[in-house]
Structure formats: C-alpha cells, structure tokens
Symmetry: C2
Subunit: 196 residues, 2 copies
Amino acid sequence: MKKAETTRLTILQKAFELIYVKGYLTTSIDDIIATTEVTKGAFYYHFKTKDEMGLAIINDILKPTLISSFIQPLQNEQNPIDAIYNLMDNLLMKNEFLKVEYGCPASNFTQEMTPWNADFNNALNELTKQWTKVMTATIEKGKKNGFIREDVNAKQVTLFVMSGYWGIRNFGKLENSKKVYLPYLKELKSYLNSLK
Amino acid sequence: MKKAETTRLTILQKAFELIYVKGYLTTSIDDIIATTEVTKGAFYYHFKTKDEMGLAIINDILKPTLISSFIQPLQNEQNPIDAIYNLMDNLLMKNEFLKVEYGCPASNFTQEMTPWNADFNNALNELTKQWTKVMTATIEKGKKNGFIREDVNAKQVTLFVMSGYWGIRNFGKLENSKKVYLPYLKELKSYLNSLK
DNA sequence: CATAAAAGATACCGTTTAGTATTTTTGCAA
DNA sequence: TTGCAAAAATACTAAACGGTATCTTTTATG
C-alpha cells in the first residue's frame, strides 16, 4: 500500500514538471513514463485516463503548493500593503517552485485547458476563488485597522492586483527574464501606497 | 495570381479562428482544411509546414489587427489617462475581434508556443515591444503636457498596465464572463487617476 | 510458506497526426 | 486551340498518440 502511493506521487511530480515546461497537450504519456521510469501498465493502474492524472496534478500537487505560497503568506501579516507586496516579491523573485521561463503553472493550465475541458476549468477556478477570498479579506481587515482608506473597494483591488500578477508572469515568460519583474514590483508598490 | 492569394487568405483567416478557439496544437491541419473546404494539396502548396502557417497568421492576421486596435487608438488622444482607459474599455468591452471566452489571441499564442518555438516567440515579442513603446511615449507626452505627474515612471506604468490587461483577459477566459472586466476597469481608472 | 490480491511490465490496437508523392484541373499567353 | 506552368485535388506514408489486454512480479496476510 505504501509503495503504490510512492509511485503515484512520483508520476504526478515528474509529470507536473514536464507539463509545466512543455504544456499538457504536448506532454505525452510516453514522455511521462519515460522520465519517471514507470511503465505504461503502472501508469494506467494508478490513473484511468490522462485527464484524470491532469486533475490529480491540480488537486494533489498544484493546490497544496499554491495554498502554501499564495494564500498562507497573506494570513500572517497585519498590514495588507506589506502583505501583498511581500507576497508578490516572494512569488516573483524568490519562490523556487515557480520559474520565470515557464510562467505560472496555474495560469498555463488555464490558458491551455479552459476552452475545452470543464473539469480543469472548475478545479482552477476554485483555486483562484480561494486566493481572491483571502486577499479581499486581508484588505478589508486592513481598512478596519486603518492601513487602507475606507473608500477603497477591496474586491476591485484584489482583481486588479491578481490580474497584474498573471500578466507579469506572462511577460516574464515571453521575455524569459526576471528583469521585467523589478519595474513591475516598483509600480505595484506605488499603486499599493496610493490606497493608504 | 489573384485566386491563389484569396485561398491563402481564407486559409489564414479560418485557421486563425479555429486556433483562437481551440489552441494551436489541438487544431490539426485536417481541421483547418475541413472548415476552409480547401484540400491538403492546396494547403501545402501555400505553406511548407504548419508552423510556417502559424507564423503567417501572426504576421498577416494578428499583427495588422492588433496594431489597429492596440496601438493606433493610443496615438489619437491627448490625455494619456483617457487614452489608456478608453483603449482598455474598448479592448475589453467593445472590440468584436477579441472574445472573452477565448482570451487574448496574442497571449494565447505566447502561452502555448513560447516554451518550444523561438520563431513564434520573436514574432510575439515584437508585437508587445511595439505596444510598450507607443504606450510609454503617450505617457511621456502626457507628463510634458501636465496630464501626468513628473515623478511618474512611464515604462513602469506601461508594464503595470499591460500586465493587468493580460491578466484580466485570463480571468475573463477562466470565468467565461465579461463581468470581471467591470471592476477591473473601475480600479484601473482610479489607479490611472492616481498618476495625475 | 502458501495464496490471493495489488502493482507493475510488455506488447499491441485503433486512430490521428504532419507531411509527401502523384495526378488532375485551371488560367492564360502564344 | 494548344502548350504549359500555376494551383488544387487525391491518395498515401510513417510516426506518434491515448488507451487496452494480457501476462508477470511483489506484497501483505492467514
């Protein structure tokens, strides 16, 4: 029972790495079993279809990782301006899970799968909804504690900030360099300060 | 010489529509020739490979369209705050070429092709560079004419605004609704006004 | 240590893919 | 009208794809 769980996890992890780099559709099951050194029989023992594995990647790999790096950091800090800025700075400049050249895995999945696979869509939508919820709550709390102006619309700001993040990751991917992150972070800071 | 040019263009246009909806990799040449009612012989008479056609789509379809809807609108208006806001409002709410549910075609191409095709990368990079250039120039002009504070960093703002656009298109695609565009535009307006 | 079930290996199937080779039609100049 | 190249239609190939069927090895348990 334990060995099986191990192989399942290595399949998911290695498959995620491949998919993060090459995309879901261009990563074949043969690719996956080649790099994991697991056979096709083993693969189909653990997953009924390729898409079932894709969803497992989202739920078992992406979700916990993103929760710990996108959501938990927001819940620790008091000042939402610092919280959001530090979160972005960490995500863009320091996080080792997210690589510039490959963009944001959640965003990649969205772009690729959304037009034709509703299950992936739902799984990813849930992730962003959670992020939205926590960030909005952080801002609302900041309004009460006097860190943020009362007339600021928390949901609007959340959407605006999240959009910027998704977009800048796209830029980083396109230019294949973290250089663009620095001016983005600077402008983010001055935007956030305008909410005081 | 004229009939040939016509079939070439219909191939490109119909192929673009398919790719915009389904993605480049999932759109097969058989799909394309089926919807264009052009035979494979005709297709390969006009394009050596699928990728050559893909690049032709970027250069002959995407580029002129995006230039007229992303770049030219910026050059007409005086006040950069209005110029940028109206541009975004048009792109998100009014433009008929860009559909919510399918995201931004340039962004889609980037996400899909960037990891493994350098030619696509360059073609797309050039497009965004042009957009950056024009928007930055608009802001700089606005600084001189007193529409924008002198201490504002034009390039930073451009990057920030463009990132937001790319990101919100991703959101629209994910939620499959223009609803998210409205709060985004509201917050964009108040951000732009903070640059006065 | 025997045995059944879990886990994994191997060979293969049907289909789809991008691309090619060959043939046929079309448009136009002489 | 004929000649001939440009354009398009048809028929095909080889490889890759996701998925399945079948067989073998491990592992847990009496």
